[in-house]
Symmetry: C2
């Protein structure tokens, strides 16, 4: 499932964030292509802003002809959007991979490992060890003791779950009015076990114009992310 | 004081990190120029790798002719390098601004506010509210409850201190074998008060080739960071 309902105000292009272009392709399509080679697009659910349904349909039909993605209306917040996506899953789905549309450089290993983690313990999230020092503040803007960086991770996606685990966590969150910016946190708050899977630095979330510049750099310099390999150069 | 002894292996240019070029200028010179217009370069101490002393001297003499920066040999770790820099401060110094050479896009307001904070309470650090969700792990690689993001900050520099405060913290750290990747954490661990000053997103630390691409983007698109403003275009 790909939550793609964000508006992307910080990119300032007047387009849904998932449709902003990187390397000449809509972000969402680059992201989906990362999953295609793993055979994971067959039952993909994409959560979108309702008012953008027709443009999403057009873009996806053009990039993935013949593939009937299920488009689901998102809510006001990501958590509601994910819930809507969970409700729309085919009843035979056992494991759901939730991945941000705005992370086009996810590694295949990260996807595979997160699925394995969910199969083993019910839930897994991709994350990378914090490089920055993370400081804690009190309510008055003064420093609290600094946490041990070796136990801190910067959250990425995919987050992958056995469907009943993440559905139960979302229901519990709704009952208790818990909100979180990711789904693994809800599972943990509900008492579930979540395995951490180490991702990669390149798996950034595109948020600002500077991130687009970084994305262009990666697509140009890292052959894993090149859209059209120059095969003519090879013998 | 500018710790600039890092080797910058991840940039892969075979140069001390502080001398890698951005926008055609050595990183360190771009960073120092941010402080020049505030009149803060008069008594600057730059901590360098001892084996690179002559190249640093040449580069600095070229970029800032007539200004006699004090170059101090760094140690194996940043903490030791900062201590060496603190030992080298002129005895009349009351407040020391410590700023990473690799953060060329620091805002003038951040510098000013950190100095004000240090004058008020003895210590201040620039930091920005965490955008990423920060997850916590246990020792076995499973998720612990997620901390409240609203109290988490990503550490930047400058960190600014009354000299006796940061010296005492470093002495205490040496006694107790505390290590930290920043100096404000040492002051807090010693029981000191540290004010948080909100910095800016642009104040990144240049670490990877992707960061250099981001830096080039900023210098091209953000007039605050342009090295040569095109004044001819203005009436």
């Amino acid at each position: 499932m790909v939550p793609a309902a964000g508006q992307g105000e910080r990119l300032g292009q007047g387009l849904p964030k998932a449709l902003v272009e990187i390397g000449g392709e809509p972000l969402l399509c680059v992201t989906l292509a990362r999953f295609e080679s793993l055979g994971l697009l067959e039952s993909a659910v994409i959560v979108i802003a309702p008012e953008s349904r027709s443009v999403f349909r057009t873009v996806l039909d053009d990039a993935f002809p013949g593939r009937a993605f299920q488009l689901v209306d998102g809510g006001h917040e990501r958590q509601q959007s994910v819930w809507n996506g969970l409700e729309a899953l085919d009843s035979s789905t056992e494991v759901v991979v939730i991945h941000d549309a705005a992370r086009p450089f996810v590694g295949h290993d990260s996807i595979r490992e997160s699925i394995r983690g969910a199969e083993e313990v019910g839930a897994a999230t991709v994350a990378i060890p914090c490089v920055d020092t993370i400081l804690c503040s009190d309510d008055s803007g003064f420093l609290e003791p600094t946490p041990d960086r070796s136990k801190l991770w910067s959250c990425q996606t995919p987050q992958t779950f056995r469907v009943e685990v993440v559905r139960a966590a979302h229901r519990r969150a709704a009952e208790h009015n818990w909100t979180a910016t990711d789904d693994a946190t809800l599972v943990r708050a509900s008492g579930g076990t979540v395995k951490l899977v180490e991702g990669s630095r390149e798996n950034i979330k595109i948020t600002t114009p500077g991130d687009l510049a970084y994305a262009a750099f990666l697509m140009e310099h890292d052959e894993r992310f090149r859209l059209k390999p120059v095969s003519a150069d090879r013998p």
